[in-house]
């Protein structure tokens, strides 16, 4: 049930990106809600909840973006894992909004770079016919970070509500029978 709900969240994030946010680009850049959801899931210490979101969100973006299959899935998985590693192993203090904003900014830059070099490598190997233009990525980077930071707050609270709901379901299931 938990995994299903997290997959549904990733699916909804993709639909909102394609159906709403893609109509309102900021300096050509569109916020990647799938990545934001993955990062927010990965921000919880010791949690693996980011994996279903990264897998489904990445696969949906892969097929709709025209990039080589696996680009976004690979980028989301690696970015989510690195955010999770940083939160679990490096960050000693409590997670603050400043840390979260830093994590999101780094995640946007990292995932963009991973998508670009993944496609570049496959193009150089002759596997892919699409050579991405790095200038598009560079020109989108700052606006995408800005819109992602604006959307971080609503996404974080939506994910919190979902996690609380999942936790309440779990409590109900494990409650002793009277």
């Amino acid at each position: 049930m938990k995994t299903f709900l997290y997959l549904a969240a990733a699916f909804l994030a993709f639909c909102l990106t394609e159906g709403v946010l893609s109509f309102f680009p900021v300096f050509g850049a569109v916020a990647n809600l799938g990545l934001l959801v993955t990062v927010v899931f990965a921000l919880e210490k010791g949690s693996r909840d980011y994996l279903p979101a990264a897998l489904l969100g990445g696969l949906l973006l892969d097929v709709s973006s025209g990039v080589h299959f696996g680009s976004f899935t690979f980028a989301f998985l690696v970015t989510g894992a690195l955010v999770q590693l940083a939160v679990s192993r490096v960050l000693a203090a409590e997670l603050t909004w400043r840390w979260m904003a830093g994590a999101v900014a780094c995640a946007v830059a990292l995932s963009g770079g991973l998508v670009f070099y993944y496609n570049r490598a496959l193009f150089a190997l002759g596997v892919s016919t699409l050579d991405l233009d790095g200038r598009i990525l560079r020109s989108h980077l700052l606006p995408e970070i800005a819109v992602s930071l604006v959307l971080l707050y609503p996404v974080y609270f939506s994910v919190r509500i979902l996690k609380d709901y999942v936790a309440s379901l779990s409590v109900k299931r494990h409650a002793p029978n009277r």
Partner: protein
């Protein structure tokens, strides 16, 4: 415990391994049904969201362009009158041409062989200037085939799967095709340019070019037939000392909002 011995790391590596398998299967063309399912599954929800977002965007963009629309309307009205006069003339030429063809025994031209396609993936993040369309090798579409919308060239197929294809748009800096000026037949190269959109390049400096001249495909490539409209000549962006003349090309197609397209099949 070290990170690499944790269960989380094991699951992460398993996900990467599964992804690697999918990538290999994709290279072999075995994930076509999965891709089609992933493309079609969000469509109902996306269309509901789009039906709300599109009018909102339309309202704000219209309000923003209102001033320009008034002057554009006046200019277009003037142009429509001029084109109506030209249409009458062309109709006379057509009748005359038909009669001459009959006289000379020419076969009636067959026109283009088109396959209708629908945009499935709108490339929401706009990273690659590509769109995914709903026609593939099953519909006779192959890599290199041209796609048109409203009679204008919009791109070429760079990957043709069984039921879906990826199209590189003409606005991409990676796109180029042989082209010519419709009026004089002067050859050049049309393609995308980062920051400019569409450009017509490699045109001889001696060639007179005016704004509004039509640029069409030259037909040198076997997979793109000649005389497909690419756009109208806009501002000249090269200097008099440059080796070649380079102009902006203006296409009326809204490349960020493509819906129905036609693939031009070449046997």
């Amino acid at each position: 415990m070290r990170f690499i011995y944790t269960k989380g790391f094991l699951i992460f590596v398993s996900c990467l391994a599964a992804l690697s398998l999918l990538v290999i299967f994709e290279a072999k063309g075995w994930v076509g049904p999965l891709k089609l399912a992933l493309l079609k599954a969000p469509q109902p929800v996306v269309s509901v969201f789009s039906s709300v977002a599109r009018p909102v965007k339309g309202f704000f963009s219209t309000a923003y362009r209102l001033q320009r629309l008034v002057s554009e309307n006046a200019r277009l009205e003037q142009k429509a009158g001029e084109l109506s006069r030209q249409l009458v003339l062309l109709e006379q030429y057509r009748i005359e041409n038909e009669a001459l063809k009959r006289e000379l025994g020419f076969a009636k031209s067959s026109g283009l062989s088109l396959a209708p396609c629908r945009t499935l993936g709108r490339n929401p993040l706009r990273l690659s200037d590509t769109v995914t369309v709903s026609c593939g090798t099953e519909q006779g579409v192959a890599e290199g085939h041209a796609l048109i919308s409203q009679g204008y060239l919009i791109g070429k197929v760079i990957y043709a799967g069984k039921d879906t294809s990826t199209v590189l748009l003409v606005t991409s800096s990676r796109f180029s095709t042989d082209a010519k000026l419709s009026k004089s037949g002067a050859p050049g190269i049309a393609g995308g340019s980062f920051g400019t959109g569409l450009v017509f390049d490699r045109l001889s400096q001696n060639e007179p070019v005016e704004k509004g001249m039509l640029v069409v495909t030259a037909g040198l490539s076997e997979k793109v037939p000649k005389s497909i409209l690419i756009g109208e000549v806009g501002d000249t962006i090269s200097g008099p000392n440059d080796l070649f003349k380079k102009t902006v090309l203006v296409s009326p197609v809204d490349f960020s909002n493509l819906d129905f397209l036609f693939a031009v099949k070449v046997p």
